[in-house]
């Protein structure tokens, strides 16, 4: 716990920004575990020892847990990451191609070398347009994937204002 809350703070700020951009994507906060049950001593011992997982059975009748599947937005996230990576690689390859095949501003050719070289006069907007979409797709895809992974079953228990002192 609280190993270094500063990292958590950085993550929290990033998450808050992301959910402000994409409202409704905020994952539900987990609520309660299914109610556990243990039999009285001397009664129903067999039902405890019969549990295959080493800890007593839990009553799930009132609190079903939905099956975990890969959500659609996680698949979209993967696709975006893959597409972004592909675009980035292609744009880098394109940067190395001779002029005439793929040409973009801000580069000049070294005759005979078959290699496009960056002009010394600096960065151009076309370079950003060429390489930027790939990086943006990777970042968006990663965020989508992470946010989808963070999603869990909805918080569906009663929420009551204070005070409620007694059961």
């Amino acid at each position: 716990m609280a190993c270094c809350l500063a990292v958590a703070l950085v993550i929290a700020v990033l998450r808050a920004g992301w959910y402000r951009l994409v409202p409704g994507r905020r994952p539900a906060r987990p609520g309660f575990a299914p109610p556990a049950r243990r039999p009285a001593p001397g009664a129903a011992i067999a039902s405890v020892t019969g549990s295959p997982r080493g800890s007593g059975p839990a009553d799930r009748s009132g609190d079903p847990v939905p099956p975990r599947i890969v959500p659609a937005r996680q698949r979209v996230g993967f696709a975006l990451v893959a597409a972004g990576a592909g675009w980035s690689v292609l744009s880098l390859v394109a940067m190395r191609l001779p002029l005439g095949v793929v040409q973009h501003h801000g580069h000049s050719a070294t005759p005979g070398s078959g290699v496009a070289l960056p002009a010394a006069h600096g960065f151009s907007l076309s370079e950003l347009l060429m390489h930027g979409p790939g990086l943006i797709a990777i970042v968006l895809g990663a965020l989508l994937t992470l946010s989808a992974a963070a999603s869990r079953r909805p918080f569906h228990h009663t929420l009551t204002p204070r005070p409620e002192r007694a059961l």
Partner: protein
């Protein structure tokens, strides 16, 4: 004591021996602590060599590619800037900073150098055939790091000087303050066993339901990542601590499902999904393929935290986790790492003894002061339970480290240091880290804990009308259990824990009242939790709720008194039919207070540690007497419709 404190006179207060002491802030001997200064000098020397080598191509008039490569080594993105791509140079700097954050997040040590070198190589490739690099650009790149480092040093000196002045002013006031460090408790006056209220029991049920589900299920836990504060392991740690504290202060004569819950929390941590993060962190942080989470030089975030769970469990229940292979971390059917409580304690002691900071890292390279308090607490409980001498061997060094390397001159505890670089983040000396450190240090270094709490009271916490508030800042409005911003619930929970442990019941009650009054409550099948807080905050809320003055300190340093270890106890009860609000023994009799958790019920209790074949008188059960069997066990039937007191003697 050293300069840290002046011992006055041990004398009893309210029946318990206490040591009265004055604890001053140490006067710093330089702008940097000694070990940190050495690490920084070494890092700077290494960088200076790289800086010189990187400048050589430019100085010697090499071609643009080699010059760009060299300038890329001099500063991240420096080659790109020098070859006329300032925006890409800036992008390289941003990516480099992001790589530092990722390194901090999950310890991939190779990432920042890779980003740095990749930018350098990219600049070399893009500079092929380009014009020579202008001298002014070379000079600019060369000057960047020295200017930034000089500025950082000057800022640090200014801040340090201000902190020294603050520290001296505080010392003038601290000289007039006496702290009371509690000694060994005496039964029964200093080991009060309180009765849980219905709300206490409902809060405990939240934790019990989490712990009593099948071992491979984690419903109700937060699932975000396994590296930082939301990881499953930290939730399991808090779960174990909270339930153990409830057993210690409310039901020391009850094992049953309360012991099972703690055992389950410890056992769940042996699963790969919980500890497997270490295999990755050790691979990308130390470039090691060793997956063993215990036999290594770091990972106190597992050994220290889980060791403390085991220490609490073994103090109150049994020694199953100290038996050979009692803590076997399984990676696959064919690969497992058999350890036990002793192995965890030995690992912590070895790593502390071998570190010049004494404190050692969680993630590769990153040393956290709060995590090492858990390691110290593990050693305290292991020494008491198994007769080892780990704490006497390292305590003075540890105290020195907390007072020099991890303390600002104004008394704020430094939360983090990079082991190899010595770097820290001053902004992180926030109240949250002080509150948690005050709580967890009280068992082993109570003087520092008391002083830290006093500083918080004086400078950070505000008591108004019986309600407590924390300073309004972002870090105090963070819930680290699920990385959400906006509420200071976690901080108030930590304040409850610390105040109660230190013995400042006024502040503890105010923090608890603030939470009770303000926080929305969620309820389900008899369990209660704060509805707008993470599971981690809720579980530490359980720990704070069941704490008491010196509760942690007594539990770890002194354990359970002989009467609790040998007297009659309640060994089994149905859950949630029977909620145990109080269970205590004086060595001969057993006193229970029970409440129904699922409506009126006729049920059976299992008692053990009775004298074989002896007949006992029982008040509150359906029969007036009960005779123990040859194993010292007996079953007692009760009708439980409301609060029920049962006494066996």
């Amino acid at each position: 004591m050293s300069e840290l404190s002046v011992e006055i006179v041990p004398q009893p207060v309210q029946g318990r021996a206490v040591r009265r002491t004055t604890v001053l802030l140490p006067e710093p001997r330089g702008v940097l602590p000694p070990v940190t200064a050495r690490r920084m000098r070494r890092a700077l020397l290494g960088y200076a060599v790289a800086w010189l080598l990187g400048l050589l191509p430019a100085v010697l008039g090499a071609g643009p590619s080699l010059t760009a490569l060299g300038l890329g080594v001099v500063f991240p993105g420096g080659g790109l800037f020098a070859t006329g791509h300032p925006v890409w140079g800036a992008v390289a700097v941003v990516v480099f900073v992001l790589s530092l954050v990722v390194w901090w997040f999950a310890a991939p040590v190779v990432l920042p150098p890779l980003v740095w070198l990749a930018a350098a190589v990219a600049s070399a490739l893009t500079a092929t055939g380009a014009e020579s690099v202008p001298a002014w650009r070379v000079a600019t790149v060369a000057a960047l790091a020295p200017v930034l480092l000089t500025a950082a040093h000057l800022v640090h000196r200014l801040r340090h000087a201000a902190q020294v002045r603050t520290g001296r002013a505080l010392n003038a006031r601290l000289a007039e303050v006496e702290f009371e460090v509690t000694g060994p408790p005496a039964l029964p006056t200093d080991l009060p066993v309180a009765e849980s209220s219905p709300e206490d029991l409902a809060r405990l049920r939240y934790a019990l339901d989490l712990a009593l589900q099948p071992l491979d299920e984690f419903d109700g836990f937060t699932h975000l990542d396994q590296y930082r504060e939301a990881a499953l392991r930290y939730q399991l740690n808090a779960l174990g601590y909270g339930v153990a504290m409830s057993q210690y202060t409310r039901t020391p004569a009850f094992t049953g499902y309360v012991a099972e819950a703690q055992s389950n929390a410890i056992t769940k941590m042996l699963q790969r999904r919980v500890w497997g993060y270490w295999a990755k962190e050790n691979a990308w942080g130390n470039l090691s393929t060793n997956r063993d989470p215990v036999a290594n030089r770091e990972n106190i975030m597992l050994t220290g935290f889980q060791g403390l769970m085991v220490g609490m469990y073994e103090t109150l229940n049994d020694d199953r986790f100290s038996r050979p292979g009692g803590l076997t971390y399984r990676w696959s059917d064919a690969e497992a790492y058999p350890h036990d409580f002793g192995a965890l304690a030995a690992s912590i002691h070895r790593n502390m003894a071998g570190s010049d900071y004494t404190l050692f890292p969680c993630e590769p390279n990153w040393v956290y002061s709060i995590c090492n308090t858990y390691g110290l607490n593990t050693l305290i409980s292991h020494d008491r339970l198994h007769g080892t001498g780990y704490v006497p061997d390292i305590l003075d060094r540890l105290r020195h480290a907390y007072e020099t390397e991890f303390l600002r001159p104004d008394g704020r505890i430094v939360g983090i240091r990079a082991r190899h670089l010595g770097l820290s983040w001053n902004f992180w000396a926030s109240p949250s880290i002080q509150l948690n450190t005050a709580y967890w240090l009280h068992a082993g270094l109570p003087e520092i804990a008391h002083r830290t709490w006093w500083l918080l009271r004086e400078n950070q916490l505000t008591l108004d009308g019986g309600r407590l508030s924390l300073p309004f800042c972002t870090s105090n409005r963070l819930d680290p259990g699920d990385y959400t911003l906006g509420r200071d619930t976690f901080g108030l929970v930590a304040a409850t824990m610390a105040a109660r442990e230190i013995g400042d019941e006024e502040y503890a009650a105010a923090a608890q009242a603030t939470l009770d009054e303000r926080e929305p409550v969620a309820s389900a099948h008899g369990a209660l939790r704060y509805g707008e807080a993470s599971g981690l905050a809720n579980l530490y809320g359980v720990l704070g709720r069941f704490g008491r003055h010196s509760g942690l300190r007594d539990l770890l340093n002194h354990g359970a008194p002989p009467a609790w270890r040998t007297g009659p106890r309640l060994a089994g009860a149905a859950y949630p039919d029977v909620l145990v609000a109080r269970a205590v023994t004086d060595g001969k009799a057993l006193d229970l207070t029970l409440r129904p958790g699922a409506g009126p019920v006729r049920t059976t209790l299992e008692l053990d540690r009775l004298l074989p074949h002896r007949e006992y008188t029982v008040a509150g059960a359906r029969v007036g007497t009960v005779t123990a069997d040859t194993a010292g066990r007996a079953l007692v039937e009760i009708d439980l419709g409301d609060r029920l007191e049962l006494r066996l003697h």
